[in-house]
Point group: C2
């Protein structure tokens, strides 16, 4: 292992030191940690560092490694925050957070609440009323308690209770019951028993014996599928090795250079992104996601998750497995988090990286002589997968050979469900099995791109494509249309406008493309989508201003990383983009940051239960007259000498021959070369 880079993930030693320093700082108070991680270095210093590193400009400045920690003392509010210099070994600052901030929950906290819930006498009393058969048991999903009032003073947890078959791979979300206890988050004291509506209104009823219905199961042991499909293996071979290299956090591939770093909150961060020697982005990450539900009935109205701020995509990241989560030759990176005691927990293989083929990159055939060129589109994928309770989120940053990054999100896992009475159909949800309904909801993800196109000062603009007026001289036939550029001068958001093909761009007004004579640009092609449906008066919206617009622009500040603010758990308002963009300042030709919201309105269907086939969301960030010509002309042309594809007929003949113990048919495999 080389020396630690300022961007690198927190180390076990840094966590241990931070915990030790904080314990000493707080004396005999018992600390319960909520999160600890490395803090990003100050950008001002880091830019000097990067220039020294890349261009040998001066000496590498010393950048202190600093951690942050969120924690409670003696299991009571308020939440504390500390900053620790782990290079010099001292606590920089530590103290309570104002405004009733609530820290993210660790998996252990969730497990502990589930245990308390299942054994609390008030809950056991309700369970007993169900008179469950022997093969059925109770489980529970603790939910961060979304807000519908400013009055709550103490963090609470709502436990959604389900029945499940006694099997390690049973579906936990197929058999919801109609009671839902509420506990205090920190002390785990019982607060009250909520009863859940299961009809068209908020009417609830006392717990009755469970009317047996079959669970809808996903696992092969339970799902009743007796005949699996005949799916032949598809093996990705790289006989001559891979085209990428990874050294510590530094990745190089096909002209790209960047660092890939795991962290607790964002899961994966890309730093110092260059293509063909030119700077593109200082930092790229998914920074927040909110999942508001559209069921208006109490207590479902409080279902709104902030899966990064409330839990963390690194903290909940999957251990990825060879041949399952991606195919080919895979490089894994590990994650790290603390437990409640402040001890480091290494999270194995939370990030995987590999190459894949995705069809044709470019082709042209000269119809006059039949000559052609064709190249394959090779991609490099950086992937992480977070399981946040019921849902899995698969985050892919896909790099191509042209300088574009496609950000792709797949949502899979299990729908969050609630009970529904037989014969009832609700307009805000879909019945997905007997007695089980999945409410409409949205996934709204904020991706933060700290731009550094050809230099530190960039400008954000958007281009619309609008028809020219019919004019007897210049547009007599009414076919003309032109591009119209608008510069973003102040922080704020840009309205979506798909019908003018609006495209957001980051440009560098000091770097002129010699071919076009205009500033170089990278464009953000976002799909036009419905943003937050909930009323502006709702807490769903007040807590997540970022989710009301697709594209935001701010001026860079070191502490502005998360779109809904630093603390989202049980928040009553947004302390992120909603606040930051109210500042009246110039953002043109400055250190700008753009925030792209990817949105999915998700009305569930029966095909998405008991486990959901990946739902896709994606957008592309690509050079737009940034290079002087196609930057992939140096990609080798495709040939079957390299790619070794085969004719179906030959493969079928071989299979038949092998079956008949006669391999002669395999010898006639034709190959064509370019």
């Amino acid at each position: 292992m080389t020396t630690i880079h300022p961007f690198d993930s927190v180390t076990e030693a840094e966590i241990r030191l931070s915990t030790k320093l904080l314990k000493a700082y707080h004396g005999k108070d018992k600390i319960h940690f909520s999160q600890m991680d490395i803090l990003d270095p100050p950008k001002k210093d880091m830019l000097r560092y990067l220039d020294a590193e890349r261009y040998g400009k001066g000496h590498l400045p010393a950048i202190a490694r600093r951690t942050y920690a969120y924690y409670y003392l003696n299991n009571t509010a308020p939440l504390f925050k500390a900053l620790i210099n782990v290079s010099s070994g001292h606590v920089i600052t530590a103290g309570p957070i104002k405004n009733q901030a609530v820290g993210p929950l660790l998996p252990e906290d969730m497990h502990a609440i589930e245990q308390v819930c299942k054994t609390h006498p008030a809950v056991v009393a309700e369970i007993n009323k169900l008179k469950l058969p022997d093969h059925i048991e109770v489980c529970c999903d603790p939910w961060m308690y979304g807000t519908d009032t400013d009055k709550e003073k103490e963090p609470l947890i709502q436990c959604y209770v389900y029945l499940k078959v006694k099997h390690d791979d049973a579906n936990h979300y197929s058999l919801p019951v109609k009671f839902s206890p509420v506990f205090k988050m920190l002390t785990k004291e019982f607060v009250r028993m909520d009863f859940l509506p299961a009809g068209l209104d908020e009417k609830t009823c006392a717990t009755e014996p469970w009317k047996q219905v079959p669970a809808v199961e996903y696992h092969p042991d339970l799902n009743g599928e007796t005949k699996l499909r005949d799916l032949k293996p598809l093996v990705i071979e790289q006989p001559d090795g891979v085209s990428f290299s990874v050294t510590g956090s530094k990745v190089e591939w096909q002209g790209w250079e960047f660092r890939v770093v795991s962290n607790a909150r964002e899961g994966v961060v890309l730093y110092d992104v260059h293509f063909k020697g030119r700077s593109l982005f200082y930092r790229i990450a998914l920074n927040e996601m909110t999942v508001p539900y559209g069921d208006p009935r109490v207590p479902y109205n409080r279902k709104q998750a902030f899966d990064l701020g409330d839990a963390g995509f690194g903290v909940t990241a999957n251990q990825l497995n060879l041949g399952c989560d991606c195919l080919g030759v895979i490089k894994y990176l590990d994650g790290m988090r603390v437990d409640g005691e402040g001890a480091p927990i290494k999270l194995t293989n939370t990030i995987c990286m590999h190459e894949q083929d995705y069809g044709i990159l470019f082709k042209h055939m000269n119809f006059r002589n039949g000559n052609y060129v064709v190249t394959r589109r090779r991609e490099f994928v950086v992937q992480t997968i977070a399981t946040v309770g019921n849902y899995e989120y698969i985050i892919n940053f896909v790099f191509d050979q042209v300088g574009a990054i496609t950000v792709q999100v797949r949502a899979t896992g299990i729908l969050s469900t609630m009970p529904i009475d037989e014969g009832v159909s609700v307009p805000w949800g879909t019945t997905v099995g007997p007695g089980v309904m999945a409410a409409f909801h949205q996934h709204l993800l904020s991706f933060r791109f700290d731009a550094r196109l050809d230099g530190d000062n960039n400008t954000v603009c958007y281009d619309d494509y609008v028809p020219m007026e019919i004019d007897p001289v210049i547009n007599p036939n009414g076919v003309g249309y032109v591009g119209k550029r608008t510069i973003v001068e102040k922080p704020g958001s840009v309205k979506q406008s798909p019908f003018t093909n609006r495209t957001y761009k980051v440009i560098n007004e000091h770097s002129i493309n010699p071919v076009t004579g205009k500033p170089v640009a990278y464009k953000f092609e976002m799909p036009a989508k419905q943003m937050m449906v909930a009323s502006p008066a709702s807490y769903n919206t007040k807590r997540a201003a970022f989710a009301t617009e697709q594209f935001w622009v701010t001026k860079y500040r070191d502490d502005q990383l998360y779109a809904a603010g630093e603390f989202t758990n049980q928040s009553i308002k947004d302390t992120g983009l909603g606040e930051w963009t109210s500042v009246d300042e110039n953002v043109r030709d400055s250190d700008v940051v753009v925030w792209a919201t990817l949105a999915l309105t998700h009305p569930p269907s029966t095909e998405q239960f008991p486990v959901m086939p990946s739902d896709f969301m994606q957008f592309m960030v690509s050079p737009s007259s940034f290079f002087e010509r196609n930057p992939a002309l140096d990609v080798p042309l495709a040939t079957n000498k390299a790619n070794k594809s085969k004719y179906y007929e030959d493969v079928v003949a071989t299979a038949a021959a092998v079956k008949g113990n006669n391999t002669s048919a395999a010898s006639c495999c034709k190959t064509s070369s370019l």
Copy 2:
């Protein structure tokens, strides 16, 4: 070869017979063919056939094979059309088409015009004025002559002239010159010399000696790239064979059954599409594409291609090559067309089909015990690629394991270019090299889906997702939102509405999903896009009403297959959807057809020259509470025993060991099994 299925492509024998019958019919008139192909069987008969074939209901009815032909007699208008019964061997009907219809052009016609153009004295005179150096020659791109008047009586061809380096792989579009001769399409007589504007207005000038500038080249021999990227091969192996079978035109894969058939106009058609034994679609095809350009200056205002109606995606289909156009184990199908004489020309390998991996299909990890299920998303791709002059269009129908079809279009090839004077920048185009400009344009593709969901009568509707009003009883917190369904009762189009997450659906009101209690559905998820930008008063729009809206609904009729009408070449108005949807008739619960327009507004960038990295457009057609649960629960879970992925470190170690002539490091390859 088995017997011919009524849906199968035209055969060589059928073409020969049709030509023979037509020659006999027309006696001593000289026939010049424009297109000939099989005609779809009457649907009424074919439905009986399919039911007999699938369910054994009665005997297979005899379905006559019929061809159609477009042709000119003695190289003069009008265009003729004939229908021929090739089963019984007689001409059903043959006669002139009204309304000045112009037939599609064959590649030979284009070549012939290019030859006439380059050698015509008027053109040679202009070429001589260029005083070209020895290494440069002239080429030309004949363009179907879009319309800006109702007055033209005779089909014309506009020749855009370019210079090129004398090399078989030189770029034909990098060095446009400023004269553009016009010829009569049929007789190839010279009509006039147009001169091209190269500034901000329509000013033109006399031809002057060529001011030498370098061409922007794509081919490795010419493009100046001295160091190719080190891209290691990525080989798709299917060691146990493939999961699909192809028998004649019939394809079976992972529960899917359909027929894949090539034809001259649409390139590839899918017939009788079933998944898991249930009927989905009778017929699916790309049926038309229009490419209007946004440069208002004469003659560029007449640049509007209809690449299917004017030429044909089968006629211009590429011969696909192993290891180049797709990877893995490939099944190819051939196409067929006529030449001008009526002789059959077999087009080899115009369709390729293969399997590919595309990430995770579904995953869930139980966070309580770490158990998980994960399956890979296997896809089956039906691909064809058409080269229409400068542009390549890659059409993919991608089938998944859940019952969804993704229609993906990649546009690649070379931008259509025009001359631009030094120092000039135009608001309707991008300068992409010295003296060369690529005008803004659009690609608008119509995909026709003849629905047959669970039976012959279907209904089209669309669902919006709209906030509930804040209400003290049912929605006090303002978070509720509901689905709102609108049934399409009459033929016509549906407006786009991305901000209500509008989703178009085909439903069967007679087939109720037992879980939801509602009609089964397939949904069309279309990206919200800018449609035709040109004025409604322009010919661009008059000729292509289909391109003004995204989603259209009509009642099925045998002769309504092409969105802009049967004859698009030099048309003056749309004779397709624009006409058909003006009929006042019921389409609910009837034999409905939906037409989905995929649109791309394309303002070129320098990265897209001299050859364009694939630009993507896609939409998905997927079951939406059509099945009772996830239909892919019978897909085997992913294991590395099957997938044989490897650790990066092991591959790097192996490579190092091989280099050092020591293979021991390779032996420690870890594998994990589920």
